[in-house]
Amino acid sequence: MTTRIDRNQLAARIAADIPEGAYVNLGIGAPTLVANALPEGQEIILHTENGMLGMGAKPAEGQIDPDLINAGKQPVTALPGAAYFHHADSFGMMRGGHLDVCVLGAFQVAQNGDLANWSTGAPDAIPAVGGAMDLAIGAKQVFVMTDLLTKQGASKLVETCAYPLTGVGCVTRVYTDHGVFDTSPDGFRVRELFGDNTIAEIAELTGLSLKEA
């Protein structure tokens, strides 16, 4: 068996790559765990695309304010130094390349950085994209946080995405439960493997030819 780290450990691993002063969007779902793992005492400014910079932790029970939510529509707080703005300004901020880092979930990531995270293409599914396509092209670095394999054991790192794309060539790095991989024009580069995982093992799990970073 290969070594796998859990989601909180993975969130901490991602947080370690985010420098103080960075402007960061954490998408919805698992990536929001990164917020809890950011180092105490360092200032990293969180953007939520529904119109705030300087997003704080979730509120204490009894302190929920329905006007103050994140992109996942969960209650949050505002830090001193926060600012509110409307949706056109918020997405202009993303599209204009002002965010340093964005962390997203994924169904599949291709070695060239193509991302599929909004639709499995299932014919009976109700399509919903939200801000996924804007986020995918809207940060200087786009990180993906995901398990390496689906529950069925298929690799989420692929040569070419089979699912409908969210963005083309947009992902810079993929943080998985098995290790960290950089995208590149000639295949994934292994940046780090957790525990005693080897490139050969991951290559076998994914069916990809992998190179060291």
Partner: protein, 248 residues
């Protein structure tokens, strides 16, 4: 004297015709003008096209409008939510049409309508199904897709305070689509917690100048603020809350 305030929500939504395009502010429940939507349901217009980020939560607001079969088409970015069972059912039954737009393109298309821009090249959606069939162009080494403005006959949205000239301020992330929708609709209608005297809003802090606003109606503190009872929204676990279940 200019007075854009109207006495009640029925006046605020008067004149909406069958087949109208209606923008509805809000992101999930935050900023969703529930009182105006209730008035629209009462008013009776049908065959509507709704432009909104989401397609309703729980059984109130946009969801209630959908449940009454008043909506022909929804233009939105994210219809599928944990509590969007009304839309989900209608969509699967083929009873409502959906135009899915990436959220930032939705916002920018609304802004373009209000700002007199004929069309714009955006990088969002390039190479995806949502850009299929759309004009594409490489500019300065990057690929862009051409998107067009979205206009509406009327916009319904929620703000915190307004004055009789229609100047508005918002509250926290409930601001979201309100300010841009106000610019893109023939008639812009704001529900506010409170109408304040002209001159009492700081001119440096007005978010939506009255030029964009046609009607302002006070609805009092929104229901989730009544007696600390929390109506709408979700728990920390993301479960929908219902009235009285949670104290603020």
């Amino acid at each position: 004297m200019i007075d854009k305030t109207v006495a009640g929500v029925a006046d605020a939504v008067a004149g909406i015709e069958d087949g109208a395009t209606v923008m509805i502010g809000g992101f999930g429940r935050a900023g969703q003008p529930v009182e105006l939507i209730d008035a629209l349901i009462e008013q009776g217009a049908g065959d509507l096209t709704i432009v909104s980020n989401n397609a309703g939560n729980g059984d109130t607001g946009i969801a209630a409008l959908l449940a009454k079969k008043r909506v022909r088409k929804v233009i939105c970015s994210f219809p599928r939510q944990s509590d969007s069972w009304v839309f989900d059912g209608l969509y699967r039954a083929g009873e409502v049409e959906l135009e899915l737009v990436p959220q930032g393109n939705l916002a920018e298309r609304i802004r373009a309508a209000g700002a007199g821009i004929g069309a714009f090249f955006t990088p969002t959606g390039v190479g995806t199904q949502l850009a299929d069939g759309k004009e594409q162009r490489r500019i300065d080494g990057r690929e862009y897709v051409l998107e067009y403005p979205i206009r509406a006959d009327i916009a319904l949205f929620s703000a915190l305070k307004g004055d009789r000239w229609g100047n508005l301020v918002f509250r926290e992330t409930a601001r979201n689509f309100g300010p841009i929708m106000a610019t893109a609709a023939t008639v812009a209608v704001a529900q506010v917690d409170e109408i304040v005297d002209l001159g009492s809003l700081d001119p440096e802090s007005v978010v939506t100048p009255g030029i964009f606003v046609d009607r302002v109606v006070a609805v009092g503190e929104r229901r989730w603020l009544d007696d600390g009872a929390f109506v709408g929204g979700v728990t920390l676990e993301g479960e929908p809350l219902v009235a009285g279940e949670e104290s603020k």
